[in-house]
Symmetry: C2
Subunit: 132 residues, 2 copies
Amino acid sequence: MFELHGRLAADTVSVIDWPLCRVLLMDDATYPWLILVPRREAVELHDIEAADRAVLVEEIARASAVLKAETAADKVNVAALGNVVPQLHIHVIARFTSDPAWPRPVWGAAPARPYGSADRKGMVERLRRVLG
Amino acid sequence: MFELHGRLAADTVSVIDWPLCRVLLMDDATYPWLILVPRREAVELHDIEAADRAVLVEEIARASAVLKAETAADKVNVAALGNVVPQLHIHVIARFTSDPAWPRPVWGAAPARPYGSADRKGMVERLRRVLG
C-alpha cells in the first residue's frame, strides 16, 4: 500500500525499485541527487524495523558508492531531514568542490534547475544501468 | 589508533563511547545536537565494512529515538555531510517547529550559541544517563 508523497513525486523521477527503497532522481541538474524512499510507513529512521534498517543502510551505501564512482564526485552527502516532507526519505547527493553550494549543504543554496527532457531521460537510463 | 578530527574536538563535548561510535554533544545550545563518529578511518559511509554499517545504523536509530523522546522534539534530522570535516561523522539533531532554522536545515542558519558551563555539564550528565 506504499504511496509516494506528492511533493517527492512532483520533484523527482523514478529510477528503480530496490528491495526496500524506491530510488528517485531529483529533477535538479545542478547536482547528481538521488532520493531513497523506504516503502514503509515511517517518518523517522527509528520508526522502521531493525531488519529494514539493515537493508536501508546497505542500499544507501550502494547508492553512495555508485553515485560517487559514476560522477567522480568529491564527496557524497547523505541526509534524512524530513522537516518539509514527513515521509521518511534519504538524500544521497554527489558534491563537487566546484558546485554552487560547496562547502555548504545544498538545501536552499540554489534554485532547482530542472533537467532538459533529453538530459533527464539520459540520466535516468544511465542510472538504471549502474544501479540495476 | 582512533583520533578525533581537531575541528570536531573543538566544537563538541564527549558524551560516551558506544561499541562503534564516539557520541559527542555539539556545543550549540540552540539545538540538542549529537554527533556520532565511528572509530574507524573513513570519509564516506561506503568506506566502512558492512558489519560496521549494521552497527552504525542501529546506533544512529538509538540516538535518534532517545534524543526525540528526551527533548520532545518535533523531528530528528540525520546527516552525514563531511564537506568541511572529512572524518566520517553523523549529525543527529533534535528539531522544533519553533527553532530559528525551521524548516530549513541547521547548517549556516544561526551562529553557534555555546552552552554556559553549568548547562553544558547538566546536558552531558543527562545524556549520559539516557544514552548509557
